[in-house]
């Protein structure tokens, strides 16, 4: 992990950048939006405005931002309960996400789903799943639909290294390989589950090889580097769109915060967290690169910072003013009435 995280960006340097200036600016903006959004969510949680569980994505932003840059309309995204970043990356509105966190009617699930369960048909975001591993077979199903319809869309299916030990994950790998489904399995290996490190939960030492028995190509990627993530994503997407079947990406990443909001984090040292933050932070890295190699000015970044701040503040305001759902909402959206 430490190795992967400190590795230099895989881009070929400023002469032949792996990301254009605009792309890296865009990536920076999206990562920053997720970071600031999550920080605000943490604050609102602390103020008692958010109930239930709330799993922050802080530290892992480069993964979803880099990969989402490889998608096109019609592609699907599905993930676990650590889902706020994925939603913002797919272009879902910060307001709707934050209001779902506070359980308001203006939230994406009208307050019924909460932090772990949000969706947007329009943006191709299929959730937000509270059952660890549950999204993986569904991701295979989304890919099946793409294959069946004969389009070249792909299903980005994210899950944690902890989730990678669920039986359904292996069933999904087998079926996806057998049927040659256009699904990209993304293991977000942030080293820990709820309190168990990957070494203590997986006999497999290299999770990128978890698809190998079924012939699924896999790569280990420095998930703290948005450029490396995007490059790997392009390879995966090209493989899938060409009809070659599934692809697996193990993203070596790290979450800075606790598993959920009340996590004593006895399973790791403060120094470990500090080291990752200081040496491998995806936003700091992108910022530095933009300033030093892409000729971007502090003033330009300030405009982005301000824009992001405004979006997040607006979402927090909305999340506190949108009304609570009416009691009648208990009985809606359960079954579809015959017409």
């Amino acid at each position: 992990m430490a190795e992967a995280a400190t590795r230099k960006p895989r881009g070929k340097g400023p002469k032949e950048p792996a990301m254009s200036r605009d792309e890296l600016l865009r990536a920076y903006r999206d990562m920053l939006l997720i970071r600031r959004f999550e920080e605000k969510a943490g604050q609102l949680y602390g103020m008692g405005l958010i109930g239930g569980f709330c799993h922050l994505y802080i530290g892992q932003e480069a993964v979803v931002v880099g990969l989402t840059m490889c998608t096109k309309p019609g592609d699907q995204v599905i993930t676990s309960y650590r889902d706020h970043g994925h939603m913002l990356a797919t272009g879902m509105e910060a307001r709707g996400v934050m209001a779902e966190l506070t359980g308001r009617i203006g939230g994406y699930s009208k307050g019924k789903g909460g932090s772990m369960h949000m969706f947007s048909r329009e943006k191709g975001f299929y959730g937000g799943h509270g059952i660890v591993g549950a999204q993986v077979p569904l991701g295979a199903g989304l890919a099946f639909a793409n294959w069946y319809r004969g389009n070249d869309n792909v299903a980005m299916t994210y899950f944690g290294e902890g989730a990678s030990n669920q039986g359904q994950v292996y069933e999904s790998l087998n079926l996806a390989a057998l049927f040659k489904l256009p699904v990209i399995f993304v293991i977000e290996n942030n080293k820990y589950g709820m309190g168990t490190s990957v070494e203590r939960a997986s006999a497999s030492k290299d999770l990128s090889k978890n698809g190998a028995p079924w012939g699924i190509p896999g790569e280990q990627v420095n998930g703290m580097d948005v450029i490396a993530v995007k490059e790997a994503g392009e390879r995966a997407v090209a493989h899938c769109r060409a009809g070659n079947g599934p692809y697996l990406l193990e993203m070596k990443t790290y979450r800075y915060r606790g598993h959920s909001m009340s996590d004593p984090a006895k399973y790791r040292t403060r120094e470990e967290v500090q080291k990752m933050r200081e040496q491998s932070d995806c936003i700091d890295t992108a910022r530095k690169l933009l300033l030093e190699s892409y000729g971007v000015t502090e003033a330009e970044l300030k405009v982005i910072d301000d824009e992001v701040k405004a979006i997040v503040q607006d979402s927090a305001d909305f999340a506190q003013t949108s009304p609570e759902p009416d009691e009648s909402e208990l009985y809606t959206d359960i079954l579809i009435e015959a017409r």
Partner: protein, 330 residues
């Protein structure tokens, strides 16, 4: 008598039973992390973290139990049991029968559920009735710290697979706790009354007790019966109380359709019909997934006020304050 929280009572049952019987062991996702004191006393082989995979956790438990070990597994939240359904229902629940009685499956499955934390439908789902519906399994769901301990001790000593559900909202409630083993299959009368029997289990027992208080202020005497074990169900205590009061309201958080309330109502109707003075009513959670929003979650769960209204309806009048209640015919 020591006072302790329900969570601590549960832990003390685990410790005592592990001391008592070396065949008792515990594993599950994070159990060794969460239960450090057990790990220290009993060692890493007996208190063991597993990968995050409920199917294999339950399957390993069933296999080990078939050879005579007595595993206790913690599957965290009740909805996660869906991953372990085959191992619990088809294996642990049926293999004794399928083998003509050659094997026993002395295992306990712990899982938490219930409203109070706003965690939404994939962490909060009162699925206890599913297991009562499956042959070969026992199901317990305590309401007091004493029962968290006493019933769990009985569950661990039982030679059958026992599903032990804990109500999330009760974990930090305090109560007096003894070393007593509370046998499975025995209901408890929590309050004596004459006019109506409120039958419940887990958190809503306390809702019924609160309602009984309010009813008493209005001159209505409600008996409160805590089932404690859902399977085997203590028919005798249920029927005796139903016959005494002639009116029964079953209260639970789980959905109404095919819930425990349906079973209790059917038993009372079948076996105590002559003594009933009113139809058996159910006050339950709706046939809906549990919502995350706090006000919706509260609206999901039966509240004391609803019980009071239901009982007053059952007694034939809403405005009973001015009415002489003794012997009001319905």
């Amino acid at each position: 008598m020591p006072r302790m929280t329900a969570n601590d009572a549960l832990t003390s049952a685990l410790i005592e039973e592990m001391r008592r019987d070396s065949r008792v062991l515990m594993f599950g996702e994070g159990v060794a992390t969460k239960r450090r004191d057990l790990l220290e006393e009993f060692g890493a082989a007996r208190v063991r973290n597993t990968p995050l995979a409920e199917g294999i956790i339950a399957g390993t438990a069933a296999g080990a139990a078939a050879t005579g070990l007595r595993p206790v597994i913690d599957l965290l939240f009740a909805p996660f049991l869906c991953y372990a359904m085959d191992e619990i229902v088809n294996s642990a629940g049926k293999l004794r029968y399928l083998s003509g009685g050659q094997f026993a499956f002395p295992m306990v499955v712990l899982a938490a559920t219930g409203a109070g934390w706003g965690v939404g439908a994939q962490h909060n789902h009162n699925i206890e009735a599913w297991f009562a519906h499956s042959p070969g399994l026992k199901v317990a769901m305590p309401s007091t710290p004493a029962d968290f301990k006493g019933l769990l001790k009985a569950a661990i000593r039982d030679d059958n697979p026992v599903l032990f559900f804990t109500d999330l909202a009760l974990g930090f409630t305090e109560g007096d706790v003894t070393d007593e083993v509370v046998p499975l299959g025995q209901a408890a009368i929590r309050r004596n009354g004459r006019d109506v029997t409120l039958i419940s289990y887990a958190k809503t027992v306390h809702t019924c007790l609160a309602a009984a208080e309010q009813l008493a202020d209005r001159g209505i005497s409600a008996e409160v019966l805590d089932l404690r074990t859902l399977k085997p169900l203590d028919e005798e205590t249920v029927l005796a109380s139903a016959r005494r009061t002639g009116r029964v309201v079953v209260v639970h958080e789980a959905s109404r359709m095919c819930g425990i309330g349906a079973e209790v109502a059917a038993i009372v109707a079948e076996k105590a019909f002559r003594d009933l003075r009113a139809p058996v009513l159910r006050l339950t959670g709706p046939d809906a997934p549990a919502p995350a929003s706090f006000p919706l979650e509260q609206a999901f769960v039966p509240q004391p006020g609803q019980i009071v209204t239901t009982v007053r309806d059952l007694l034939g009048t809403r405005d009973v304050r001015d009415v002489e209640l003794a012997g009001v015919p319905v």
